[in-house]
C-alpha cells in the first residue's frame, strides 16, 4: 500500500523539510487513504452486506442464530426446498408474473404511444402531454391504489354508483387481476416513456427517411428500421417497470387482498404476520423475489450497456414530425383521458371520500348536497395521537435519511468517480447492490439482522432510516454522479497542482460546484423516504409508526373516510416537497423519484 503512495497527492507535498519528514507524511497519508476506503467498506458492510447475508442465512435455517444462539444453528437447504415446493408460493409467484407481465405490456403500449405522440407528431400542447406522461411518477402507489379502490371497488365504487345511476349493468372491479394489471400499467408507463421518448428524440430522422427513399412503406420502415433501433430502449423500459412492479407492496396490498390475489410481496408480509411469524419462510420467499429481481436488473444492465446504436453525442436532431391532420385532437384527447385516469379522478375521489360524512351515494343530487360534507374525518384522524406521531416520525426519518444518505452517497460517489483509491471497485459494486433488492426484502433483511440484538437498532427510528439509506443509495449515488461528472476534472486538478490537498480540494472546489446536486439528491431522498412503505412494514413499532404504514392500517381497518383524509394529507405534504425539490434542482432529478416505486 505504501509503495504506491505516490498515486495521489504525495508528489504535491511542498519541498520543505527533510527527506524523512516527507517520507513519513507520505506514509501517513497512504494510511489515511487506506482508512477512508476501509471505513466506507465497513459502513457498506453494516448497511448492506450484513443484513443481506443474514437474510440468505435465514432462508437456509429455521432458526435465527442471533436470536437463538449459534448452538441451535442448523444450516440446510431443507427450508428452502420446502418453500420452493409450497403451492402457495407457486400461486404468489404466478400471480406476480401475470400482474407484472400484464402491467408491463400495458405500460409499453401507453409509454410508447405517448413518446411517439410527443416526439413524432404535430399534436397540439406537446409540452403539456410530455409533462402528463411523467406525472404518475409523483403519485405514491399506495395513495393511487386507495383512490382507485374508492373509485372502482365492485360494490361501492364511485364509478359503479355512477354506472348504476345511468342504468348501465356493467361494473368496474378493481379488486381483480385485470384491475391490478390496469393500475400497474397506467402508473408505471412513465418508465417506458422516459426511455423510448429519449431514444426517439436521439434517433437521426435520416435513418427512417433513407428507408422511405429506398422504397419502404411507412409500416415497413417502422418494422425494419425504427423498432429495431429503439428496441434496446423499449426493452430497458419494460424490464425496469417490471422490476418496480414486482417489488411494490402498496398496490397489490390494497387491490389484491380483498379479491384474495396474493403476489410475492403480499405473501411475504402475510407470512410474517402469522402467529407465530414464519420468518424463515418469509426470508426464503424474499430470496426468491430478490433472485428474480437481480436477474432482471442484470438483464437490463446488459441491454443498456450493449452498444447503443443511437449515439451521436451532442447532436440535436429536428425529429421528423408527422402531420396528423384532424387526428391530432384525438391524440391530445388521449393525453387528457390519461391525465383524468391517473390524477383527476383519483384526486376527486379522495376529496369526496375525505370530506363526505358517508360515502354511500344514492343519487347524483346527493353528491352535490353540501350537508353531506364535513371535516369529521380529519377531526377523527387527528384525534388519534398515532396520526400526529406518524407524521412527526415520518419527517424525522426523512430528515435522517436525507442527511446521512446524502453525505454517504456523496462520499461514495466521489470515491468511485473521482479517486483512484484501492477498494473503490468493491465500494462501487456493494453500493449498487440494493438496486436488485425490493424495499420489502430490505425490510425483511433488516428485521432479520437486528431483531434479536438487545439494545440494538430494532424499534428505533434509526433502523427505518438506515434501511432507507441502503435502499435508495444506488439512486442517490447515480443522481449525484451526474453532477460530479459535470465538474471538469481539470478544475480539480488545477486545484491539486496549486497545492491544495485532496480534502481541501473537495471542500473548496468540488462541494460548492456539486452543492445544487447534493441538495437535490437530499431532497429526493427525503421524498422517497416519506412515501416508502415496503421496507417500513417490517421495521416499525407503535412508537415509530410512519405515515405510509398507518395509511395502510386505516385502509385495512375499512375506514374509507379517514383513509382518504390521510391520503390527502400525505399527498399535500409530498406535493409541497416535490415542488420544493423542483425549484432546487430545476427538474434535473425527476427520474429518480419514481425509481423506488
Amino acid at each position: 500500500m505504501a509503495a504506491d503512495s505516490t498515486a495521489l497527492g504525495a508528489d504535491i507535498e511542498p519541498l520543505t523539510g527533510s527527506y524523512e519528514a516527507s517520507q513519513r507524511s507520505a506514509r501517513l497519508r497512504a494510511a489515511g487513504r487506506w482508512l477512508w476506503s476501509a471505513g466506507l467498506l465497513v459502513i457498506l458492510g453494516f448497511l448492506v452486506v450484513y443484513p443481506v447475508s443474514m437474510l440468505l442465512l435465514g432462508a437456509l435455517t429455521n432458526t435465527n442464530p442471533v436470536v437463538d444462539g449459534f448452538a441451535t444453528f442448523n444450516l440446510s437447504l431443507e427450508n428452502f426446498v420446502t418453500v420452493l415446493a409450497n403451492p402457495n408460493v407457486h400461486l404468489a409467484l404466478i400471480n406476480s408474473l401475470i400482474a407484472c407481465g400484464g402491467g408491463t405490456a400495458l405500460a409499453v403500449v401507453i409509454g410508447l404511444g405517448f413518446s411517439w405522440i410527443v416526439v413524432r407528431t404535430n399534436t397540439p400542447c406537446k409540452g403539456f402531454i410530455a409533462a402528463v406522461s411523467l406525472v404518475p411518477l409523483f403519485v405514491p402507489p399506495l395513495v393511487a391504489a386507495v383512490a382507485w379502490s374508492i373509485l372502482a371497488s365492485p360494490k361501492s365504487g364511485l364509478l359503479n354508483t355512477l354506472l348504476a345511476g345511468l342504468g348501465i349493468d356493467w361494473r368496474f372491479d378493481v379488486y381483480s387481476m385485470p384491475g391490478m394489471i390496469v393500475i400497474f400499467g397506467v402508473y408505471y408507463a412513465p418508465y417506458v416513456y422516459m426511455f423510448t421518448a429519449s431514444a426517439l428524440r436521439n434517433m437521426d430522422p435520416a435513418l427512417e427517411e433513407a428507408a422511405e427513399i429506398s422504397g419502404a412503406t411507412a409500416l415497413s420502415t417502422l418494422l425494419t428500421v425504427t423498432f429495431p433501433l429503439i428496441a434496446p430502449a423499449i426493452i430497458s423500459g419494460m424490464l425496469l417497470s417490471f422490476i418496480v412492479m414486482l417489488g411494490i407492496y402498496g398496490i397489490p396490498a390494497v387491490l389484491g387482498t380483498p379479491g384474495d390475489i396474493p403476489v410475492l410481496t403480499t405473501y411475504i408480509f402475510k407470512l410474517t404476520a402469522w402467529s407465530p411469524p414464519l420468518y424463515s419462510t418469509a426470508a426464503a420467499v424474499a430470496v426468491i423475489l430478490m433472485t428474480v429481481t437481480g436477474f432482471l436488473v442484470w438483464l437490463q444492465h446488459r441491454v443498456v450497456s450493449a452498444r447503443s446504436y443511437i449515439t451521436v453525442a451532442g447532436k440535436a436532431f429536428r425529429p421528423a414530425v408527422m402531420n396528423l391532420g384532424r387526428w391530432r385532437y384525438f391524440t391530445l384527447g388521449l393525453a387528457i383521458v390519461y391525465l383524468v385516469i391517473v390524477v383527476v379522478l383519483p384526486t376527486l375521489a379522495l376529496i369526496v371520500a375525505a370530506f363526505r360524512k358517508f360515502l354511500f351515494i344514492r343519487t347524483m343530487a346527493s353528491l352535490f348536497d353540501a350537508r353531506q360534507y364535513s371535516l369529521i374525518h380529519f377531526e377523527r384522524l387527528f384525534d388519534n395521537p398515532l396520526a400526529l406521531r406518524s407524521i412527526v416520525n415520518t419527517i424525522e426519518v426523512g430528515l435522517i435519511t436525507a442527511v446521512i444518505g446524502g453525505i454517504l452517497s456523496f462520499a461514495i460517489g466521489y470515491t468511485i468517480h473521482r479517486t483512484r483509491l484501492s477498494g473503490r471497485k468493491s465500494i462501487d459494486v456493494i453500493s449498487t447492490l440494493p438496486v436488485a433488492i425490493p424495499g420489502l426484502v430490505i425490510g425483511v433483511a433488516y428485521l432479520w439482522a437486528w431483531i434479536g440484538l438487545p439494545g440494538g437498532l430494532y424499534g428505533t427510528i434509526w433502523i427505518l432510516a438506515l434501511a432507507f439509506v441502503a435502499r435508495f443509495m444506488p439512486d442517490t449515488i447515480k443522481a449525484l454522479s451526474t453532477s460530479l461528472l459535470q465538474i471538469h476534472r481539470e478544475l480539480e486538478e488545477a486545484a491539486w497542482i496549486c497545492g491544495t490537498r485532496m480534502l481541501g480540494t473537495i471542500r473548496m472546489i468540488v462541494l460548492p460546484l456539486a452543492r445544487p446536486g447534493v441538495i437535490a439528491a437530499m431532497t429526493l431522498l427525503f421524498v422517497l423516504a416519506i412515501r416508502e412503505l415496503g421496507s417500513s412494514l417490517f421495521l416499525y413499532t407503535s412508537e415509530t409508526m410512519v405515515m405510509a404504514v398507518l395509511l395502510l392500517d386505516y385502509y385495512e381497518g375499512g375506514n374509507v373516510g379517514i383513509t382518504a383524509a390521510f391520503s390527502l394529507v400525505q399527498t399535500i405534504l409530498l406535493g409541497v416537497l416535490i415542488g420544493f425539490a423542483h425549484v432546487l434542482s430545476r427538474g434535473g432529478t425527476d427520474t429518480g423519484v419514481g425509481k423506488a416505486g
Partner: protein, 369 residues
C-alpha cells in the same frame, strides 16, 4: 434510366420565418451533375428534400423525367418511395443494426428483386464503391468514409433515375474528403445517373459539378458551368462566395458595351466588366480575386496598370499573400511559389486584367461572410 429533373418556381415557407426557398427554378438534364452551392441556411437542403418528396413545397412544380412528382397546386405529391430516386445524407444514415450487405440489399428487398439477381447487383455496386471486402462487416465497424460509401452504394444499387446528395463529405476529415470527392464524380459519371449535389464548399462544387447553382437566402442567384461562375459571377454575392474577396468602391463614369470605366479612390481609372443593368454614374463595387492580380508586370501600356505599396505579407510556404495599398483602398494579392519577392514597404507594379475586374452596383446588399 437517368432522367431529367425540372424544378419550376419552387417555394417553401415553414410555419415561422422568411421563406426557406423563394421562387427557385432550374433543370438538370439526364446524366448531368448539378451542384447547389451556398452558405449554411440558404435553403439547399430544403430544395433537395422537396425534390426527394421528404418535404412538401408550398408552391411550384417538380418533375422527374416525364412525371410531375410535386405540384401542390394540383394536389400532386408522389411519396419518396415511388420516385425512384437515391439519396445520400450528410449523416450517412446507414442502418447501424445491419451489415454492409444488408444495408445495400435493403432497397432491392423492398422492390422484391429475386435473391440471386439482388446478390449480383450488390456485388457489382460494392465493387464500384470499393467495398467488396467489407460486405459482411457490421456497418458500425467502418470508418466515416467507408460508411458514406455504403450509403452511396445503397442509393445506387437499384439504378435510380436521380441521385440526391446532401453535403455527403462534410462529416469527413479533410484528407478523406479530397479522396472521396474525386471518387464521387467518377462513380456518378460511371453510372450515368442524373445528380443533384448540395454543398457549402466551393472547391467541392467546382470539382463535382457540370453546372453550379449559387443560392442565398432561399433564392437561386446564378446557375452556370463552373468556369462561368468563376469568371462571370452574376453579382457581388456570387463573386464573394466563390472567393473574390477584394472589393474596391468606386463610381461608374461611362459604359462601353460589356466594359466600363470606374473611378476609384485617388482619382484612378479602372476598366472593369459590367453585368447588365449597371448604369453610368452609379456607385459600384469592383470585385477581384486575389489570384487574378498580376504582380511585377512592366507593361505601362496595358489598361489597369497601377503601382501599389506592399503593407503586409503572409507567407504560406507554397504561396504568399500580399496586402497592397492602392487605388485609394486595400487589395489582397496572391502569388504562387515559395519565393517572397516583395518586402513590406516596397512598391510593386500591378496589373488588374479588365475581364477579371467585375463592377457591381453598390445598391446590392453588402457581401456576406
Amino acid at each position: 434510366m437517368s432522367a431529367e429533373l425540372k424544378v419550376e418556381h419552387l417555394r417553401k415557407v415553414f410555419s415561422v420565418g422568411r421563406p426557406a426557398i423563394d421562387d427557385v427554378s432550374f433543370r438538370a438534364t439526364a446524366g448531368e451533375i448539378v451542384v447547389l452551392l451556398g452558405p449554411s441556411g440558404c435553403g439547399k437542403t430544403t430544395t433537395l428534400r422537396c425534390v426527394a418528396g421528404l418535404e412538401t413545397p408550398t408552391s411550384g412544380e417538380i418533375a422527374i423525367g416525364r412525371e410531375a412528382v410535386s405540384v401542390p397546386a394540383r394536389g400532386v405529391l408522389v411519396p419518396p418511395r415511388l420516385r425512384n430516386i437515391g439519396m445520400v445524407f450528410q449523416s450517412y444514415a446507414v442502418w447501424p443494426h445491419m451489415t454492409v450487405r444488408q444495408n445495400v440489399t435493403y432497397p432491392l428487398r423492398q422492390r422484391r428483386v429475386p435473391r440471386a439477381e439482388a446478390g449480383r447487383k450488390v456485388d457489382e455496386v460494392l465493387a464500384l464503391v470499393g467495398l467488396s471486402e467489407y460486405a459482411e462487416r457490421p456497418v458500425v465497424s467502418l470508418s466515416g468514409g467507408q460508411m458514406q460509401r455504403v450509403a452511396l452504394a445503397r442509393s445506387l444499387v437499384y439504378q435510380p433515375q436521380l441521385l440526391l446528395l446532401d453535403e455527403p463529405l462534410s462529416n469527413l476529415d479533410a484528407k478523406l474528403r479530397l479522396r472521396l470527392r474525386d471518387d464521387l464524380r467518377r462513380i456518378i459519371k460511371q453510372t450515368g445517373v442524373t445528380a443533384l449535389y448540395v454543398t457549402h464548399d466551393q472547391s467541392e462544387a467546382v470539382v463535382l459539378g457540370d453546372r453550379i447553382g449559387v443560392m442565398r437566402d432561399g433564392k437561386l442567384l446564378q446557375i452556370a458551368p463552373p468556369n462561368e461562375i468563376y469568371n462571370r459571377p452574376a453579382d457581388m454575392f456570387v463573386a464573394n462566395f466563390t472567393g473574390a474577396s477584394n472589393a474596391l468602391p468606386g463610381r461608374l463614369l461611362a459604359r462601353n458595351g460589356e466594359f466600363g470605366t470606374v473611378e476609384t479612390g485617388g482619382g484612378n481609372r479602372l476598366t472593369a466588366w459590367l453585368p447588365p443593368g449597371v448604369a453610368a454614374g452609379s456607385e459600384v463595387n469592383v470585385a477581384l480575386r486575389p489570384e487574378n492580380i498580376r504582380l511585377g508586370v512592366q507593361a505601362a501600356a496595358e489598361p489597369n496598370h497601377f503601382t501599389a505599396r506592399v503593407t503586409g505579407q503572409r507567407y504560406q510556404g507554397t504561396q504568399t499573400i500580399y496586402e497592397l495599398a492602392t487605388l485609394g483602398g486595400r487589395l489582397e494579392a496572391l502569388e504562387l511559389g515559395t519565393n517572397v519577392r516583395y518586402p513590406v514597404g516596397s512598391d510593386v507594379e500591378i496589373l488588374l486584367p479588365p475581364e477579371l475586374c467585375w463592377a457591381y452596383s453598390a445598391q446590392e446588399a453588402a457581401p456576406m461572410e
